[in-house]
Symmetry: C2
Subunit: 411 residues, 2 copies
């Protein structure tokens, strides 16, 4: 943090008061993390087949036993991460559940081994139900395997991770035909921001404390960052979810689509990239375009909270859920603003962290049964009482709480 900003924070002698507030939030966040992890440990483990139930109602009852590969991989990753990096989570119950989830993925995730394409959702006993023609199941598989290797030291997990990573990079940068998407004459060659975001996240994951892989993926990381930055359009006035591969705005709703929470998530992925690079200029750009801009445009002035989807020309989005308030954009915003503050010391970012965190803890927490609600109406009422489903598992909430606890501790 620069001396000037340190001074600014200290000025008026409110340093002490601020430290107390940060300390209070650290405790609040840490206690919430314990409750959230307890919810998943109590309700989501499939003792019979391994892996995790994620379709859990408010109280944790399983309302469907399908196993979504994204969420299986994410929960394995989360458990290993907590086991590795938090003393109080360093216990065998968490590691064994992660291993059982990892073995379930190894055995069943791929549709036709040795082929690498993974299913999107499996039956409880591992038979494929649906496939997506995207890279995301494979990305979360890779995250899970890399963390399992770090948590257990078993090399076979890391081999799986690196081989899958090579396949994903091949699909994205050389030949996507393996994903099975039909080539249609009128289909725009759109790049969803999720693709370079996800890859950048994997570069960070695989390169962590691993000089060899960090080196192997340096160029890929720079490429991802460039691609994500191409989504800043309209003279820097909008982050668009989909642009052409050469960085031009696309026509129609697809081209105008905005997702403030996703831009904020990209923001903290890019901030970590800046830290690795030691690039303060890029950092300033990221803070401006991926943190402050999406918050300005995406925060609901009437009811608070971040809109899910917006249209850059202020047409009404066609997504029925566009005005709903979802849990994950708010967890990503908490991470982004706290990381932005930790890196820049700019008190504006700390105030935004407090604003988002207060809204999030007030609206999404369930003091009665634990874990957070995922889906609120525009006005902030619980619209779906489920705690987990096809897209909500043990990931965004504990990742946010764990990262915030660490960052608050460091401040």
């Amino acid at each position: 943090m620069s001396k000037g900003l340190r001074a600014r924070r200290a000025s008026g002698g409110d340093m002490e008061k601020e430290r107390e507030t940060l300390q209070a939030w650290k405790e609040r966040v840490g206690q919430e993390l314990d409750r959230v992890v307890a919810f998943w440990m109590e309700h989501s483990h499939d003792q019979e087949h391994g892996g995790f139930f994620t379709c859990l109602d408010r109280e944790g009852r399983v309302y469907d036993d399908l196993k979504y590969v994204w969420l299986q991989g994410r929960q394995v990753w989360m458990y290993c991460r907590l086991y590795r990096t938090f003393q109080r989570f360093h216990h065998s119950q968490l590691l064994n559940a992660a291993k059982a989830g990892g073995e379930f993925l190894l055995r069943y995730a791929r549709l036709a081994p040795p082929g690498k394409k993974c299913a999107f959702v499996l039956t409880r006993d591992g038979r494929p139900v649906k496939v997506q023609r995207t890279i995301f199941s494979e990305c979360f598989y890779t995250m899970a395997m890399n963390e399992l290797w770090r948590a257990t030291g078993e090399v076979r997990y890391q081999t799986e991770a690196v081989e899958m990573m090579d396949q994903i990079v091949h699909w994205v940068r050389e030949d996507a035909s393996g994903l099975g998407r039909p080539q249609l004459q009128g289909a725009p060659t759109a790049e969803p921001m999720a693709v370079p975001m996800m890859l950048l996240n994997l570069v960070e994951q695989l390169g962590e404390a691993d000089e060899e892989l960090a080196g192997k993926y340096t160029e890929l990381g720079d490429w991802c960052a460039r691609r994500i930055l191409q989504h800043v359009q309209r003279d820097g006035q909008a982050v668009l979810e989909n642009v052409s591969e050469d960085g031009k705005e696309l026509s129609g709703c697809l081209g105008r689509q905005q997702n403030p929470g996703h831009a904020l998530e990209a923001g903290w992925f890019l901030l970590r990239h800046c830290i690795r690079k030691g690039d303060p200029e890029l950092r300033a750009h990221v803070l401006d375009k991926f943190l402050l801009l999406p918050f300005r445009s995406g925060w609901d002035p009437d009811h608070g909270g971040l809109f899910y989807f917006q249209d850059a020309d202020d047409f009404c989005p066609t997504q029925l859920e566009w005005a709903m308030k979802l849990w994950w954009p708010h967890s990503e915003a908490m991470i982004a603003f706290l990381m932005g503050y930790s890196e820049s010391g700019d008190p504006v970012l700390l105030r935004l962290f407090y604003q988002v965190a207060e809204y999030t803890f007030r609206q999404f927490r369930d003091p009665e049964y634990g874990e957070w609600f995922g889906y609120l109406s525009r006005e902030g009422k619980v619209a779906l009482s489920i705690k987990g489903g096809p897209f909500k598992g043990c990931f965004h909430v504990p990742r946010c709480l764990a990262m915030c606890e660490e960052m608050l501790g460091a401040l």
Copy 2:
């Protein structure tokens, strides 16, 4: 209508008052139909390429120029139907727009002629953007072509319709591989109720005043009716959207999914089947299971209106929009209850028509710019201000109004 019920309606000498109410609704519905048709005629016609813009905002401005094949076919069908059956719509402007839409479909809808598979969405100039691995684009294509033949007398349209119908029947009853769905080991062989519904609707469409085709499709119509009736599950206490092909309940959310508006639409498809068959026993069953039952379970006791999705075990549905109030379930309910009353004379069904129609006209109409809003919050607030989009075009509202005007006139 049975003498007994005629007497019941007349009893208490309220026959006259009732006739006045029906007459008032006939005028209200007729005027609304004029306003709705005017909206689409003014805003949706693509004079350059033919076909229709359906992504229209509240005022009718085009916010996207993609052409969704379902909606192209539906609008052609609707225009021809109005042209054929309503004196006041029997004008060349409507017919010419329908023909231009039909020619657009003939030229561009199919992905690889002479192959029959159609795109789901096309660019404004007819290049394919997306394909669905279902029969629905092809079904609406068939409806459009059959009506164009009826409106113009040009045989080439009818040839298109009959050939496409044969292909659809082949996909559904003999070999679905042409649809390109991957066979996955864990995927249940589920039958969505939409498939036999859509086919039954086509049987009605193609067989109308056409003894030869009516004969050709008699067995198919009976098969469709049997298949739809298989969706009545749990000892007749629930209509489930998805069942196994041999009529068993499926596990999980998929098996428990209910869609009250869809059941009501199936109800009036089946009522017309009963009329053709002259089967009063089946009619009584349909009125009970496809009209009264879905209304009892699907009508929101707190805010009025029909829920979009429900879970047969009262778990929270995973669809984010489950509690929203959509325009089409309400237009289908108006048709179903008025048809049920016309056929049975049961005053309970007439009261339900009034209840749904009052809610629908109050909540969905836009007195300012015409056409109806499509998507309301659970509480009945407009959630999306669009008048048309990827799934809402010139179809459910005018079809409902036209059919209700005819039925009210006949009463």
